[in-house]
């Protein structure tokens, strides 16, 4: 009771007009004014110094670019290179921003020019002392710093650090774990074999990054790619199919495997299997695809099957699909258009004698045929 009374008194005193007045006058307003002054000052000062240094920075950046180009594309010995870098470091005070600029520039050159010598890039990286920076970053406690180090190792191709990277594969932080597996795939000589025993989920972003490595870097299909196709991790299965397609290793995927993949509960796996049939031009998978078409529930996959038939289909498919056009009253228009397109492309005269009882459907069919025949739409 007393406690409640005390609380109410405190409340009334705290929120009385007088106390609010003094709170605002002596605390709230001065504090905000202080913040306002600080923000204005830092806004103007930051901009003033940025403008002041802009010209100098531009000159230094141009010099740096010329210097790096000279280093990368000339045949200097490692001793000459070391001396040149050391002279450059003496000439320009390398602050954090300039170091970041140089490192990013080196990475940019390596990523965008195929003709760069990996050994030269590594030497430049080391002689500038960037390996020490990367070391500090990878040993720091912040996952973000570790990720930065991984980014640098991966893009410079600093294979010697693979051991450090492996340690991060079991990190509790999913972003760091993801960055580690990507860096490891990129750095490891076995490339994709490192995914063999990877137990964590591979995100969509990881998939994109792995595919980037698949398409950009020289690598071979993993020895046990067949085991990957049986993996319980759908992402691994998808990557396996993409690898097979990328390297055109048609013999690594059998008809049985295609049939098996098409039974997957994950529509994305089924989609990849359909795409594989198309990309690898597997004529022999025609029957399997047609069987699967009847049970496929995903509209986009159904459309994808028809698109695949454009590559591997024959006139034999027409009978089934033309019956389907008449039988299925509520066939989605996107799918219908794709079917008409396939039939029209396979047998241009087929629709000459094909009509519906319903005239509106005939008009619709004619519009679809016109769409299919338009050279600017296909």
């Amino acid at each position: 009771m007393i406690y409640n009374k005390l609380l109410i008194s405190f409340f009334l005193i705290s929120f009385s007009a007088e106390s609010i007045y003094f709170f605002l006058l002596y605390f709230f307003i001065p504090l905000i004014v202080l913040f306002v002054i600080l923000i204005i000052f830092s806004l103007l000062y930051t901009r003033y110094s940025a403008d002041k240094n802009e010209h100098n920075l531009e000159v230094i950046e141009n010099d740096t670019n010329s210097f790096l180009t000279d280093l990368i594309f000339s045949d200097y010995t490692s001793i000459e290179m070391k001396e040149k870098i050391s002279a450059f470091k003496k000439q320009y005070k390398l602050n954090a921003n300039l170091k970041k600029y140089i490192l990013n520039k080196i990475i940019h050159i390596k990523e965008n020019l195929n003709e760069t010598n990996e050994h030269t890039i590594l030497l430049i990286y080391k002689y500038f002392g960037f390996d020490e920076i990367s070391n500090r970053l990878i040993n720091s406690s912040s996952w973000y710093s570790k990720s930065q180090a991984l980014y640098q190792y991966q893009n410079i191709g600093y294979k010697i650090k693979t051991g450090y990277v492996k340690k991060l594969l079991d990190s509790k932080n999913s972003s760091l774990r993801s960055n580690a597996i990507i860096a490891l795939i990129s750095l490891s000589d076995e490339k994709f074999d490192v995914l063999d025993n990877y137990k964590y989920n591979i995100s969509k972003a990881d998939e994109v990054k792995i595919l980037d490595i698949i398409y950009r870097k020289k690598s071979t299909v993993p020895k046990n790619i067949n085991n990957w196709l049986q993996s319980k991790n759908d992402s691994i299965v998808i990557i396996a199919i993409k690898l097979i397609v990328r390297f055109r290793y048609k013999h690594d995927i059998s008809l049985e495997q295609i049939a098996y993949l098409l039974t997957s509960e994950n529509y994305k796996v089924r989609k990849e299997a359909i795409l594989a049939v198309r990309e690898l031009v597997m004529f022999e998978a025609n029957d399997i695809l047609m069987q699967h078409f009847k049970t496929e529930t995903n509209l986009r996959n159904k459309i994808s099957i028809i698109k695949t038939l454009n590559t591997i289909g024959t006139t034999e498919n027409i009978t089934f699909l033309s019956i389907l056009l008449k039988k299925e009253e509520n066939l989605e228009l996107d799918l219908k258009l794709e079917i008409v397109n396939f039939i029209n492309k396979t047998n241009a005269s087929f629709f000459n004698s094909y009509t519906f009882e319903d005239e509106t459907k005939n008009i619709e069919l004619q519009k679809m045929i016109a769409h299919s025949n338009c050279p600017y739409l296909n």
Binding site: I39, N179, S203, D212, A370, Y376
Partner: protein, 474 residues
């Protein structure tokens, strides 16, 4: 008996508590915004945009831009849209029954021919007269849809959605200039997030005084027009501050009509943009959120703190007022239409946090400001107000307002380093101090007028936005 004096005194208490609540909300938003921006920059290199740009497996994106009487700028704008650095995209220009030479200019410049496009009307629109494709392979990513005027951007956008072939679409205005990596940047949240992303957006900037070269931003300047200056300030506060905070709280109810990317299937499932809406972007996102909650799908709407789009804003009072009246009317229309969401636990954070925020901190604010003023005058003339207290409270509110705007500008300058020199930054800072006295009352007037038009069911008018076009650098 309740006297006028007791009402006035009670209202003082109400306004006091309301102000405290409002300040608390903004402090929460400020912290959330800061955390979200920090998170964005920490994760920026998790999936580098270059990986997406070079990818052979990139998600396909249709860029839809409705055009109504845009003959003045249409060619340069379409070229700008076509210069996106992205592997799989198409540009769909919807000519919404223009009465000028928009279509003729497009046909002539891009060598367009009418094609037998099989148009599937998944969302009902005004009749489509035809589709045009270029005979020049350089422009094979361009599709022009010619339709009858639907008196709304919504109808034109829907026709674009119906004609699109990819599963994601970007909705923009044809007068918007996009950064070359806009598509890649907007697609990122769809790849990075573990949840289903249904929409994403990014910051819009004002193009009025900027210089453009080959369809790209060349120099950024602080606008020299009276209305544009304040709108710049407002855009910064809204995008850097408000949207980022709501992105952190996964409570975005608005993805700007100027630039937004959407999951096409979800948009079609909710029936597309509503052509009768005066705030079609707000209304669409509200419906999409509703659908996700009803289907119990874990979803996200993301915002990224990058300036990816430059748009021309009204530079004369009449057009500005008309736009703001329409926005205010759009807000009340959407809130009224979806009132079922209000404090409805079925709609989780949309019903319990976002919708109430829009009601209490967006919709009612102009009304309360006017009512507050009336009470102050009543107090002043009849009941003897404590003038020192009134002054202190007003100064406190003013300072807080200034602080919030300055924090937004500070974050914006740290991220983007906009404007070509220090003088322009100084001008922007000066505007912060005068905005509450000049620009804010105009906005309040427009909002109240919009609400009134809604209640009176006045016929909606879109009016014509007179374009000045862009300054181009040689």
């Amino acid at each position: 008996m309740i006297t006028l004096e007791s009402i006035v005194k009670s209202s003082e208490l109400f306004f006091g508590w309301y102000s405290l609540f409002y300040i608390l909300v903004y402090i929460i938003l400020a912290v959330s915004s800061f955390l979200e921006i920090k998170k964005y920059y920490i994760n920026k290199y998790f999936l580098h945009k270059d990986v997406i740009i070079k990818s052979n497996n990139a998600l396909g994106v249709s860029i839809i831009a409705p055009a109504f009487n845009e003959g003045f700028t249409i060619i340069s704008n379409v070229k700008s849209l076509l210069s996106q650095e992205y592997p799989r995209f198409e540009v769909i220009i919807v000519n919404d029954g223009s009465t000028d030479d928009t279509l003729e200019k497009l046909i002539s410049e891009f060598s367009l021919v009418k094609v037998d496009f099989f148009y599937i009307e998944k969302i009902i629109t005004q009749p489509v007269k035809g589709h045009y494709r270029s005979t020049n392979p350089i422009y094979n990513k361009l599709l022009v849809v010619d339709k009858e005027n639907g008196k709304s951007k919504a109808d034109a956008s829907n026709a674009g959605i119906n004609s699109s072939k990819y599963s994601l679409f970007i909705c923009t205005d044809v007068d918007c200039i996009l950064r070359r990596d806009t598509t890649a940047m907007l697609v990122k949240p769809f790849i990075e997030s573990e949840k289903k992303v249904i929409a994403a957006g990014a910051a819009l900037r004002i193009s009025n005084s900027c210089t453009f070269k080959e369809g790209m931003l060349y120099e950024s300047h602080y606008p020299d027009n009276f209305f544009a200056r304040f709108q710049e300030l407002e855009y910064i506060r809204s995008f850097v501050f408000g949207r980022m905070a709501w992105s952190k709280l996964n409570g975005l109810l608005l993805v700007s009509g100027g630039l937004g990317i959407f999951d096409k299937d979800t948009v079609i499932e909710v029936g597309g943009y509503w052509h009768k809406s005066l705030g079609e972007d707000l209304e669409l996102v509200t419906r999409m959120r509703k659908l996700m909650h009803e289907k119990k799908i874990d979803f996200e709407i993301k915002y990224i703190p990058e300036s990816l789009c430059w748009t021309e804003v009204p530079s004369d009072g009449e057009v500005f007022l008309r736009q703001r009246v329409r926005w205010a009317r759009g807000l009340i229309q959407t809130l009224f239409l979806h009132r079922k969401l209000f404090f409805n636990p079925k709609y989780k954070n949309t019903g319990l946090i976002v919708f109430p925020y829009y009601v209490f901190c967006e919709f009612v604010v102009p009304i309360l400001e006017v009512v507050g003023l009336i009470f102050i005058f009543l107090d002043l003339f009849f009941f003897g107000i404590n003038i020192p207290f009134l002054v202190i409270i007003s100064v406190a509110v003013y300072c807080f307002y200034i602080l919030i705007t300055l924090i937004s500008i500070f974050l914006d300058q740290m991220i983007h380093k906009q404007y070509s020199n220090l003088k322009e930054v100084a001008k922007l800072i000066v505007m912060v101090f005068i905005e509450p006295f000049i620009y804010h009352p105009i906005n309040i007037y427009a909002s109240l007028k919009g609400y009134l038009h809604f209640f009176l069911q006045k016929e909606k008018k879109w009016g014509v936005m007179s374009r000045k076009g862009f300054k181009t650098a040689n």
